[in-house]
Assembly symmetry: D2
Homo-oligomer: 347 residues x 4
């Protein structure tokens, strides 16, 4: 019997990508396309790419009712929603995969400081599992409340994790310069995201204040066992999908390209979704678009004793919906890459 | 045992899309990635989207040798190549699906006039089957030499076929205004196709002289039993994929929106890959990108007694590689949509 | 003393382009940047391209007060606004250049049918001059109420005018397939105009019902002295600026490429802003971007006895603000191209 | 009498922008459009934006002859060309503004190491003036051989100069992450720069090895009086024009946002072409496109004790042709902004 999956917030870009992926998943069936804005309308009248593929009307966001019907609930909702809904009854009936930030940070004070909202169910933070599969696979298998990582975060952490874990770089020197396609800005009707405003331009935003910063810091701190404070600067790029991370850090003594390559191989050599490009390799977002892959490359600079590590992924797939499905697969004992083996689409 | 597929011209955009689709096909395996330009190089070093997906080196274009190894040969090659290679020996060993125009036109004089090259094997024209599956399904099942239709052509013919076949429009009034993404221009290194030349611009080209014109005319003439001569104007659009056809024709007496809708239903109502949007429906290329779907809509204009029929498809999928796989499925007795059910990718 | 110019609706794309052009005009000075949405804010905080160029706060849309202060008022406002404000007092104090459609159509019934709003001051329709400078130059010089043509309209009419005027084509066969950059859709915050919705896609819209249709018909009817009814189909293109018109019509007897070329020369040979590309010439929007030029080319098709006439312009310049300034120059006795000689920006 | 200007390499993107700007300059006239590739062809048949604006045929690259005819020669040519042509005779007849890198670096060994070609006229390096007007205005006025700075370089140096000059940051911690529109890659027909390869993608390139690195280092070293070694990483962005620099550096003791703002004001407060956005200001390339402006903003990060400084410019204007004209103005005693006051074009 297939896994019954419900999605709340299914008409945002990440939610719709989840619908698309689940519609093709051999062991899942969609039982609920939640959308507060479009309740009662055909899902495929909003996302016409799924016309004749998904044949369901949008439902409201009644999570209690959904929990009674579904095996797994995905929440692709604004910050605060999932935390405000969570309770023991829901958790006892369905597994929860939250694509918002509500359960990503262990420290509720950090959450409230960066998100500027009160956390409505901090009691569930201890049991929530941070769902970066390549790093917390075992914990994910047994999770019932899963915090699906952010898009920038997934790319940043995966790019830096082996370096920090193995002590190859000085964590106090990390600077992450990230670039994102515009689907990361969501489907809200804002002037700033109109075609003519985004096209033919590039800008940084949320400089020193972007909310993905503490999430990256928490995970990297965990990896190296000491508090990591870093700079993270996101940029908006005139393309639909894709995140590119360019990360800088000073090298520890004696680190060579071989050391770095070996560290990446150690942690990712067997990973299906991570493609290592090796020294000198420069990931490009076009090579991962539409897939769950993360491409990682790096370059050492003898002149400055720094390294430049680079990662690329599709923000809607590995950065959101694909990773959520990967987590679902793990949580339900399925092969981790089930329904996620489509190659990138180019051009 | 899987179908052994060889591709000549695998490093153009259409060829690479074919490699991508075949790499995911449950009943096919790629035995030959031919590329004159990149012989000896890893295919995935050229199309890095397929890194860790396709693990083969590029081969040359030795069609004789390939015919001995393959069950089916796809030629995604410049005009003239396939015709120049064709012989009985090859045809007796492998089925041929030619993505070039060499076997699309039945009249060799028309071919030579529009393509301005000599046809090297006109003797095979009679047996070649024009592979527009929705229209010639039965013949395709028994073909050994298949002419895969052009991208503009597929979109134009499918949009107009029921109208012409049923006599709903005056064939002498047909005007087709077509718009294509830039992948249709191929991967050749030309100044005119550089990013900065194409981006932020739009133009018509090949006005009154584009080579897809006689192909459309031949098929529509066939449908209505009288010679059709029409205007076809292609345009270049700053996007990667997608063809949009806007076709105009004067209505026959008494034709209503209901008549037109019924005609579309009659011919396409059961088609997996054709999605009818009905009267007033306007197809958009974003809703078909990455898929084998064709979306068709139309609008009648009582003021001018004309109809505007519109179709959209992905030029690299239904307009090239997807249709080639659809043809392969038919030719090998497989379900027609096998390996082609991926939904469109949006955004 | 410089011309005092006030703009109502200055924070839409056309209004802001007008501000940009007027800020560089040697004989004009901006006295009023009207914007209902941003009243009280610095204009250059909204259009930061004009930071340190335009140093004014946005004003409201008090047209009475503005008329007392300005020599000329530009209204770049939604349909109905200008008509609802118009009165003798305003007209006696300032010249009016209306970029909306309120005074473009002579027949109020046609206006109300296509725009679906009541016309609030039809009494001024007789005196309003349709401001297509290349065609109505003399009338414009003496106008006090000027209807600035629409963007699609300018491109369509200028492309077809000499052909219709000289009887070279059958007016009953005219079909106009037009393509526009996205700035034509305005700066309103709508999901349909978000970057991810427009990018990588193309669509027709307003098929058979677009409001620029009657405006084109009225002007062409005027040119040939008989009622013209035609098909006009606009399309949305993923680029910021630019309109491309591809127009089709059956040729009158005996018309040759030379006849057509001579007609274009007759009407436009001396025009500063019209660049004739001659037979076979295909205009491209990139070659006119940022300028007030219109490029026109054409091709005859002996097979179908039709001609394909093509025009390209920048929808915000010759299609809106540039033409408005050209009209202002004429109305104030200045050289027609003053402040409008900047060449197109490429790439 | 107007300044006679000759351009060698006029059909590259920077050269053509120079032609465009000079065609509008009140005190200059173009006497030579040099182009080895298109000698004998109408310049405006290649850059059709300048049809009816520039009325000249392309000439060859005979610099001797050109020196006899011109008052100033601009070389927008590949590295090595200008150095190989330079001699006393040329320098005695015409002022030289070289847009290549040949005379930018004072140390010939550094030039030969990074550019991997022999410098053919190192004897002129001492007299060559580095033409960053805002920093070396006086020297430029008297130069006869001017090295026009690179596009990335101009943006990087102007963004960081006051900080380094005033000792507000630790120069050993500087990291520059730069993003460029695709016109920076030139007009050569390369697969990597085709529309479909660049569109919908982003990548870093030349990581740790880009040739603009030593140029930035030399100028910043000069500013602070100690050798600066830094990381510079360029990225390719799917847009035509624009460079965005995001620069990171650790703050010196006691530096506040006020200190930083005061330093920018001190050096740039009176500069026509530099627009300071102040603390928290994030430059966007859309706001400078088509103009000679540089927008600069910054943000301090108390958590990491670093600052993020950001600059944006149009790579073809302030990053190449506009700066060259600004230098010409200075060298000929004209107002520095003559012919360069056009505001940015948006959208």
């Amino acid at each position: 019997m297939k896994i019954k999956a419900g999605i709340i917030g299914s008409t945002g870009y990440a939610g719709a990508e989840l619908i698309r992926l689940l519609s093709q998943h051999p062991e899942a069936e969609i039982c609920w396309c939640g959308s507060r804005s479009y309740t009662g309308e055909e899902f495929s009248s909003i996302y016409r790419n799924l016309f004749r593929v998904v044949d369901q009307k949008c439902m409201d966001d009644n999570m209690e009712q959904l929990a009674a019907e579904a095996d797994v609930i995905f929440t692709a909702t604004p910050q605060g929603f999932c935390a405000s809904m969570m309770n023991d009854s829901i958790l006892s009936q369905a597994k929860i995969i939250d694509l918002s930030a509500d359960f990503r940070l262990k420290d509720v004070a950090v959450y409230e400081k960066w998100y500027k909202i009160e956390h409505k169910s901090p009691q569930y933070l201890p049991e929530a599992v941070y769902g970066l599969c390549e790093i917390r696979r075992e914990a994910i298998r047994h999770a019932r409340l899963l915090a699906n990582p952010g898009c920038y975060t997934t790319c940043s952490i995966l790019t830096l994790y082996p370096l920090v874990k193995e002590g190859l770089v000085d964590p106090s020197t990390i600077i992450i310069d990230a670039k994102s396609g515009t689907s990361g800005a969501g489907r809200g009707a804002k002037v700033a995201n109109l075609f003519c405003e985004v096209n033919e331009s590039m800008k940084a935003y949320g400089v020193t204040t972007h909310r993905h910063t503490p999430e990256i810091e928490e995970q990297l701190s965990d990896a190296c066992g000491q508090p990591v404070v870093l700079n993270f600067t996101p940029h908006l790029v005139p393309m639909n999908r894709g995140i590119l991370v360019t990360a800088y850090a000073s090298l520890a003594d004696g680190v060579t390209a071989e050391t770095v390559e070996a560290a990446y191989e150690k942690y990712y050599g067997e990973e299906f979704f991570i493609r290592l490009l090796g020294p000198g390799g420069c990931p490009e977002t076009r090579w991962v678009e539409g897939s769950n892959f993360v491409d990682i490359g790096f370059q050492l600079d003898a002149r400055t004793n720094r390294m430049v590590a680079m990662g690329a992924l599709d923000n809607l797939v590995k950065g959101a919906a694909g990773q959520a499905v990967q987590n679902m697969n793990l949580m339900f004992g399925l092969p981790e890459n089930m329904g996620l083996t489509m190659p990138p689409l180019f051009p």
